[in-house]
Amino acid sequence: MAGANDLIIRIGGEGGEGIISAGDMIAQAAVRSGLEILTFKTFPAEIRGGYAMYQIRFSHEKILSEGSGFDVMCCFNQEALDVNGKSFTDGTVLIYDYPGGDIAEEQDIPGVYCYAVPMSKIAKEDLGTYRSKNMVALGAISELFSISMDSLRATIESKFGKKGADVVEINFKALDAGKNHIRENIDKKDPFKMDPGKPQEDVIVISGNEAVGLGALLAKCRFFSAYPITPATEIANFLSRHIPKFNGTLVQAEDEIASLANVIGASYGGAKSMTATSGPGVSLMQELIGMATMMEVPVVIADVQRGGPSTGLPTKHEQSDLFLAAHGCHGDGSKVVISPEGVEDCIYLTVEAFNVAEKYQVPVLLLSDGSLGFRTSSIKKPDPSKINIVERDKYDPASGDGGYKRYKLTESGVSPMSAPGQPGGNYISTGLEHAESSAPNYTPENHVAMLDKRFHKLDNIEDFFPATEFDEEEGATVGVIAWGSTIGTAREAVKIARAEGSKVAALYPKLVWPVPKKALERFSSKYEKILIPEINKQGQLAKIIASETDIKPISYTIYGGLPFTPRMIADKIKEVI
């Protein structure tokens, strides 16, 4: 449930009924009218024949998470009612397709405001096209909760304008039909209403996946190769449209192994390079991630996590690839794992992922997740001129120190990297253990020196990438540590818990591997109990922190394919105190 000036609307029904596009439009319209929005979607793993849901949270303030529950439920069919009915509480608003739709009975649920809107019937009988059902629903919703009709019309116009005036007209008519049905037949009793805000110039609405693509472009990524996979494909979709504009290259490879191989070859050649996939792809990439570690080639791998293991729950949400990301690859492999908390982070942490990869010449995994990838959010328009870009330490042919040593044992552990074309910089990049020159070398001394080098270079990463946020509280005994998209939820939970009188602190690391030890130790030294909520079975971050520090965290895991609600974490905080 949302607070004041905060409204959560859900639309649910059969996949393919236009729920996603209706949701997108009302979200866009709300932003046009000056509101903040954050959306949340669930799809079936099948193309047709399953339950799909689109939730929009509206507010006048920055929104941090999906929120807890919902205020308004708009049901396109009986299944949507069944799935969501159990979550109705006192004061929930139910809008449902009746009569003439899939829902056979009139609803009269105690404590719930039930508004019947015959969406299917209006669409089919009055408008002559069943496909306009979603627009009828939008009209009803905007009328009921004062979402600006002008903004909605403007959104429709910019979306369908290209398809012709008649298409726009049909949609307008459907909107009006929905609006009029409310005006004429419904006696609004519920208290929900979103006042329009002050329209803002510098706001964009973008999804998490698109934001990763945008971040890559901002970081000057010029080579991208991937293989389609849910829920990561939209990163490729975005870049396929835009990377050629920068004379960059996009390859749809034959599989994930080939895509990472492409990326490693391109990065060896000097291009900032990236791939994007989900868990199954990351599993397949293990050998080559280790090769990138060994070759010390910078690469960025976005992993939009889904429910696992195996094919699992392709369209659901989980934070369960951390073990694989941090501890995967045979042998001792040094690499970095970064995880964004929200859509804005998807932009800026993608830039950071490139910076870290280039700075340390390592593979960097960027762990997003299905909810975040599909989420759209209103965020401040990024300013490209303010983006800080780090370049790899390049070999300088003029350095003139005799034979070039690709894997020179330097103090920092990072060795200048040449690129083909540079005279004197010739070397063979290799996955075999090698001497400084890059020639194969299997002596014990050399292997020790090179393993040390590859780990040592990351010793100071926490200072280079200090993206760990402290939210301290005097007198608190419990400190919450969250990662990835659970951070937003935890932020709200902490607010709620504090508002309800609990003392609680929080730490939000964006660097999850190597774990930011200094921050973790500083934080844990102040709070007796460390609570780590995360969405996986094993408590993966909690276990990694337990093994890397002296912290003995209390692990709080859920793993049903859905995000936490702030309420859940707030309750847990109280329980732990």
């Binding site: 706001v203 698109e210 080579f223 190769s225 050629p244 070859g265 490209p384 083909p420």
Partner: protein, 289 residues
């Protein structure tokens, strides 16, 4: 440290790392022929990268002064592809063995070939897994006894030439390590070819393959007839399929000119209005509500 200006001789291309192959290994002949081709072509060591997978043959890049990558088993082609696409200015040449290319790497070949990726691929075919000490390879004969097939291999071999032709390769040739002059010519032309060029080189492994020996090839290697039309795919396929009769055709089987992957990607950049200083704000602004 400046780019070499006096023309380099074949031996000048040798790096300081001595080949680790067994005495008598066919790969020496390939190395020598390739170095001669490099000298012929006045290859610039700084603008050339040799990329390989894993295997005895895949040690090739270490022995040459160019840039190079010694990658993972079976991944030579996709790594080389990434390098070439990111750096079309480079000459990128892929090297590997029969196992690397057609067993674990066999899933990449059709795609790299059908896309007419601008690479030269030189495969040293010894019909055995050399580096792992003598197991059956995808080009080993059915019935061959190896350490993993003590009762004889149950499997029919692959036909690298026919495969590449069917995949749509635009340059397909076969050489034999003991005929270095032919190999040198085929490699030279392969490097000059725009698009994907494939040179299969029979390169015996005297240490582990006691069947497909230099001796055994003496009567099998047959130059491709002078009058073969190298633009006739069916004729080329017919020659490639002779392998079934135990013949080893040597020479150029097929060569045609069609747009390469680099060409196609350039077309896409053009369609997209690509430029090195495209204003990213144009993309961002499209996301305003």
């Amino acid at each position: 440290m400046a780019t070499e200006t006096i023309p380099m001789k074949a031996k000048d291309y040798k790096s300081t790392i001595p080949p680790t192959w067994c005495p008598g290994c066919g790969d020496y002949g390939v190395l020598n022929a390739v170095l001669k081709a490099f000298a012929d072509l006045k290859i610039d060591i700084n603008n050339t990268a040799l990329v390989s997978g894993i295997g005895c043959s895949s040690r090739f890049p270490y022995f040459v002064k160019t840039y190079g990558m010694h990658t993972a088993h079976g991944r030579v082609l996709p790594v080389a592809t990434g390098l070439k696409l990111a750096r079309p200015d480079l000459e990128v040449i892929a090297f590997g063995g029969d196992g690397d290319g057609f067993s674990i790497g066999g899933g990449h070949v059709p795609h790299v070939v059908r896309k007419n990726t601008d690479l030269t691929y030189i495969l040293m075919d010894n019909s055995i897994y050399g580096l792992t000490k003598g197991q059956c390879s995808p080009t080993s004969e059915q019935g061959m006894v190896t350490s993993t097939t003590p009762y004889g291999s149950p499997d029919n071999p692959v036909n690298p030439l026919a495969f590449c032709l069917t995949y749509g390769a635009t340059y397909v040739a076969q050489g034999y390590s003991s005929k270095p002059k032919v190999v040198q010519e085929l490699v030279t032309e392969a490097i000059k070819h725009r698009g994907f060029s494939f040179v299969n080189i029979i390169s015996p492994c005297p240490t582990f393959n006691k069947i497909n020996t230099f001796e055994s090839y003496k009567d099998k290697v047959e130059p491709i007839p002078e009058d073969h039309d190298t633009t006739d795919l069916n004729a080329a396929l017919a020659i490639a399929l002779k392998a079934k009769e135990g013949k080893v055709p040597a020479g150029l089987l097929y060569q045609v000119k069609t747009p390469t992957l680099v060409d196609r990607l350039n077309e896409i950049r053009q369609k997209a209005g690509g430029s090195d200083d495209y204003d990213i704000n144009r993309i961002i602004d499209a996301y305003r509500a």
